[in-house]
């Protein structure tokens, strides 16, 4: 078993992996950039090393610096988390070269699955169902037109090296194809350094359902149930659940067996996820494989009772899977919300800043994987994921009510967050009926938000006065308020910070 693991990541996932290390008695090593010195993951780790300027290329994406820290700290393994270098075959190889075990699949499997066209080609060989289209990059606009005419519009153009919705274009008619192809290729070039674009039939409002797989280094491969991830905004997942409301045990078995076949064809080891698109008739098509641990792994952990990060570490340390497919049971239902520092009233614009007040929910069926704390300043330099809030219950209804209750308790003061979005989703009739697809959230956001009844304005007015007396605050600098170090008086009358705020306004 490893003695020391370096976590090549930050934020909530770094905290999650550090916790697993502590539980397994393994020393954890954190890395941090200039703006992450006071981050939660640095505080929770056993060791921590500074790696550079905030820009990811100077820090969390910098392979040489990370391997140097591994060497200096004596780490014998690296856990890459998700994002950053987690699906970088070059990095996985470099770890091997440095004598440090990369906790994840082999560089060869990563490369095979990392290119979507190559993944399609390999999957064709093993009879995995996938969306009609090309398995190779388009060579010319003429070829694109021919294929699109054959498979039928609407079609989706996608970047082979892509992810996160970049380099994707939905094309409804032949006339749109050429300009869309050019745009997709340029965007792919800019985002991934690779112009290769392929085409697939666009399934109208599909569901995005993915299957968790786990394989040891001895060929034992299992599936751990599916996750429904259709609730997305701009191709980014926002809310996920397990199991999917439309997958019955037979469909689960069929999808799971295909996922295992995919993993085995790729020679896959450790944790991975096979993504499917599912149409209205519950036909499922292979979309791609993610060769890493995913953000939404907690929902699978809760319904299976398994700790995926523990298992990742143990598999990488050479242990055999301690169970077989027949031992895996799905029990209950889990739903996860991704809490982001974003402004829902302003097109979800990132909203960094200092968290002045944090009231965190807990209680029955609630799990919170968080990277934030009260007093922390959310940096502008990275993805603004603050925390994941997961509700678990015996059935979907109970998971929904627990999560709704926990969201009611959750308060993040000082910055804007997308918490209000989840209240809207969880109370929506279509969501409650399990009627979701990848177009769901766009439709919900286009519809009018329910009026928030402001019946407690009088209570707010009274509270304003009480705060002024019991908890005055003073205005500093650019308008950010901080606690008054001592109540000041002018002529015997207590001067409250609120009054100073009024003075600040009136003068200009």
């Amino acid at each position: 078993m490893f003695k020391k693991i370096l976590i090549a990541n930050r934020g909530e996932i770094a905290v999650r992996v550090i916790r697993a290390c502590r539980e397994l008695g393994i020393t954890s090593v954190a890395i941090y950039s200039d703006v992450d010195r006071a981050s939660l993951h640095v505080r929770k780790a056993d060791e921590a090393y500074h790696i550079g300027a905030p820009a990811a290329a100077e820090s969390y994406l910098n392979m040489a610096k990370i391997l140097d820290v591994a060497k200096r700290s004596g780490a014998d393994a690296i856990h890459p988390g998700y994002g950053f270098l987690s699906e970088n075959a070059k990095f996985a190889r470099a770890c091997g070269g440095a004598g440090v075990k990369f906790i994840g699949p082999s560089p060869v499997s990563m490369e095979m699955m990392g290119s979507k066209t190559r993944a399609r080609q390999e999957m064709e060989k093993v009879g995995v169902p996938f969306v009609p289209g090309t398995s190779r990059g388009l060579e010319s606009p003429e070829q694109a037109e021919q294929v699109a005419a054959r498979i039928g519009y609407p079609v989706m153009l996608k970047a082979a090296a892509g992810g996160g919705g970049k380099g994707m274009r939905l094309v409804h008619e032949p006339g749109e194809l050429r300009p869309a192809l050019e745009a997709a290729q340029s965007e792919a070039e800019r985002a991934f350094g690779d112009r290769e674009v392929y085409v697939e039939k666009a399934i109208v409002n599909p569901r995005h359902i993915e299957m968790q797989v786990l394989a040891d280094e001895y060929g034992n491969t299992v599936y751990l149930g599916e996750r429904e991830c259709s609730i997305q905004r701009r191709h980014q997942k926002v809310l996920e659940e397990a199991p999917s409301p439309i997958v019955d045990p037979d469909m689960r078995r069929r999808m799971g067996e295909v996922a295992v076949r995919v993993a085995k064809a790729a020679g896959y080891t450790n944790a991975g996820t096979v993504e499917f698109l599912v149409d209205r008739d519950k036909n499922f098509y292979f979309l791609e494989m993610n060769t890493r641990l995913q953000v939404e792994h907690p929902v699978t952990e809760l319904i299976t009772g398994l700790d995926l990060v523990h298992l990742q570490i143990r598999i990488a340390a050479g242990e055999k899977l301690p169970f077989g497919q027949e031992d895996i049971r799905i029990r209950g239902h889990a739903i996860e919300c991704r809490i982001y520092a974003e402004d829902p009233d302003n097109n979800y614009f990132p909203s960094p800043g200092r968290i002045t007040l944090l009231l965190s929910p807990s209680g029955p069926g609630i799990r919170r994987d968080s990277g934030m704390y009260e007093g922390w300043t959310v940096p502008v330099d990275y993805d603004p994921l603050l925390a994941k809030l997961i509700g678990y219950g015996t059935d979907r209804g109970q998971a929904i009510s627990r999560l709704t209750r926990a969201l009611y308790e959750y308060f993040v003061g000082g910055i804007k967050t997308n918490i209000s979005l989840f209240r809207r989703i969880l109370t929506d009739a279509d969501f409650q009926a399990g009627k979701v697809d990848t177009g769901y959230l766009d439709r919900l956001l286009k519809s009018k938000a329910p009026e928030v009844m402001g019946e407690n304005a009088e209570v707010a007015a009274i509270a304003a006065g009480i705060f002024a007396i019991l908890d005055p605050a003073s205005v500093v600098g650019n308008g950010n308020l901080s606690p008054n170090p001592g109540n000041k008086t002018v002529g015997g009358v207590a001067v409250s910070g609120w009054k100073k705020a009024g003075r600040f306004e009136a003068l200009d």
């Binding site: 302003n346 614009f349 304005a457 009274i462 509270a463 009054k499 009136a506």
Partner: protein, 165 residues
């Protein structure tokens, strides 16, 4: 203590002081029995007629919000006996309103010229940050008195961008 309070644009007059074991409270002339304790900085527990309210306070971009349960209210408070308040508060619709940068970025476009008339919600300028464009809108109907941050200027969160009168 006497306070003029505005909650979501509506004005209230509050008389409030500590008395014996509790509080004496009169809102817009109406006496209300309240019990209030500060649980911790920025968090109040108020009981009125047996109903329990948890109130959270935060400040964002020069605005103060009070959250009663899960509902947010914009709040301003003035002591009407202060000299400042007798001159009239800048916090109402009749005074000039400043537009602030919500986060660090760069002014990429100024949409309206100085002295031009504007409506509430009209886009005044565009700030770009993290590859996204953010329209800064006028909070009220009036005239764009002054553009403080010119096109091309780099701004920090809380910087004044423009003033609408």
């Amino acid at each position: 203590m006497l306070y003029d309070i505005t909650i979501d644009g509506k004005d209230y007059r509050l008389e409030l002081e500590r008395a014996d074991a509790g509080w004496r409270c009169r809102l817009n002339g109406r006496e209300i029995q309240i019990d209030a304790v500060l649980a911790r900085r920025d968090v109040l527990s108020i009981l009125i007629g047996g109903k329990a309210y948890e109130i959270k306070r935060e400040h964002i971009a020069n605005e103060t919000h009070l959250w009663v349960g899960g509902v947010r209210y914009a709040a301003e408070l003035r002591d009407p006996r202060s000299l400042r308040s007798r001159k009239g508060s800048a916090a109402d619709d009749k005074g000039p309103k400043k537009l602030y940068a919500p986060m660090p970025g760069k002014v990429v476009r100024v949409v309206v010229a100085e002295q031009q008339a504007v409506e509430a919600g009209q886009s005044i300028l565009v700030v770009e940050a993290m590859k996204m464009q953010n329209e800064i809108k006028s909070p009220k109907k009036g005239t764009l008195q002054k553009i403080v941050a010119a096109e091309g200027a780099n701004v920090n969160a809380g910087d004044v961008l423009a003033i609408v009168e």
